[in-house]
Amino acid sequence: MSLPENITLLLTRQWNGESLTDLEQSARDQWLAAADHAAEADRLHRVWLAADNYPSHYEPDFDAGWNKLKSRMSDSKPVQTPAAKVVLMRRIVAVAASVLLLLAAGIWWLLPDAPTEPPYRIVAALSGKPMEVALSDGSLIVLQDGAELTFPETFPDKGAREVELSGEAYFKVTRDEQRPFRVQAAYTLTEVLGTTFNVRAWPGENAVEVTVETGRVRFSPVSQPGESLTLHPGERGQCLTNGNLVKSGDMEINALSWMTGQLRFRRAKLSEALQAIGRHYEVVLDLEKTALGDCSYTGSFEKAELKDVLLTLELNYGVRISEVSPKRYVLRGGSCR
């Protein structure tokens, strides 16, 4: 006897510590209730557990590994700063150790810097959820999972407050007119005095994007600081890889959905709603009938799963949605209703 695929998959997810929905649990229990089924599930579980020591025959060569690492360690100085960071951090002089407030779930280490090290830190959000970082000037930054922020422990008394971002983050910058706040993200520079804004600069994307919530932001390519956009609340600027700047008047209302988990649409065009949904869940949603893109959509989702969002769309427009390739869905048929 072999287990049906859906039950096998439910069991492996359970063994991996994933939580099953009520529906899934009852499907599992119903199946297990039949004669012999529980015993077969138990056999499969043993097979699953037996793999635990895989690969039991493999043992790394510990001594060779350590000797090699040791010689490479002595050849490599600690990262002073990668080239771009040297420019960014040049003006920062060594200062006394400062109190750096880091707010985040999980375990934190504050590593003491050797006196000769530049006093800056790299924080990487790796725990699968957004992470908050508080800077020495009181500014607060929320890093999207996977993003990395480089910043000095203490900002200099004079001159700009400079940080470097890879990935996406939301900035709430404490106002200080004497010391502008600068974010270097990929090939762009964003400069503010005190505002809230979002920077999206994921490696591999064809533009860096800044969305302003409050205050005023100057946004420019690093290579041409003279070319810049001034962005006001509700505005969004994009800098393409070739340095071209594009400004759009209306801030994407869902630009911060990665942080809030909320998606909201009020009489939005369906084509735009699909774009925001796609961006939030990192998928592509295509309309077979492009005319549907002009339908109006009103609705909101709060920390919803993609499948629930898709189901809502199916119900609203009578479309049939199928995944045609990884992370790519097509909406077929349907009407505006």
């Binding site: 790394p60 350590w66 999980g106 050797a114």
Partner: protein
């Protein structure tokens, strides 16, 4: 490992002042896990250990700046897994979708009366290694890295449906291949955990009381 030993947390702090000694301890503590994590994805010892080197060297280079939002072990494993998956992607491995599972001989040829725990473990390993590469990789990522089906699909650039097919395929194959020995599996697993390699009798298909 004694509980009174220096913690990873303290080791990270000492990396800055007392570099090499602290690194030696971190290496001793985590090298094997890091190598195994990589090796499961890239089953070539030399390549796996090269990738593991990079993980530790990166930690060393960034020792004064790095703040990690998780435990050191989890950070190293995640870094190792990312590098291993990058390697797989860079190789642009082509997997044939219809790769056949090895044929099973009908009926286990003479189950030995007694089986050394190590031998049984080796057999489990061999059957996993016999899986077609894509199937093996999907199984490993699900079984050891606890990645969700969607994450595996994204990492390997295949559809979630394929991921689910492959996990089922792998488990059915292992279940059938290990069928005659299933009664032994739990007891062997427990024995290996306590570090003994005792002789274990055959208990048929029933779980022996331990």
């Amino acid at each position: 490992m004694l509980r009174s030993e220096i913690t990873d947390n303290e080791l990270m702090q000492r990396l800055a002042t007392d570099g090499e000694a602290a690194m030696a301890l971190i290496f001793r503590r985590h090298y094997e896990q890091v190598c195994r994590t990589v090796y499961r994805v890239v089953p070539q010892a030399e390549t796996a250990e090269d990738i593991a080197q990079e993980v530790f060297l990166e930690l060393w280079k960034r020792r004064n700046q790095l703040t990690i939002s998780t435990s050191l072990g989890a950070y190293l494993r995640r870094a190792a897994l990312n590098r291993a998956l990058n390697y797989v992607r860079d190789q642009k491995m082509k997997w044939s979708d219809d790769a056949e599972l090895p044929a099973m001989s009908d009926g286990a040829p003479g189950i030995p009366e007694q089986l050394e725990a190590k031998e049984l473990q080796k057999m489990v390993d061999q059957y996993i290694d016999q899986l077609p590469e894509k199937c093996r990789l999907v199984f490993v990522l699900s079984r050891f890295e606890s990645l969700s089906h969607a994450e595996i699909a994204e990492q390997l650039d295949i559809s979630p449906k394929t991921v689910e097919n492959q996990i089922t395929k792998a488990l059915r194959f292992l279940r059938n291949a290990l069928g005659p020995y299933i009664g032994l599996l739990i007891s062997v697993f427990v024995k290996i955990c306590v570090g003994a390699s005792a002789l274990i009798g055959v208990f048929g298909d029933e779980l022996p009381k331990i």
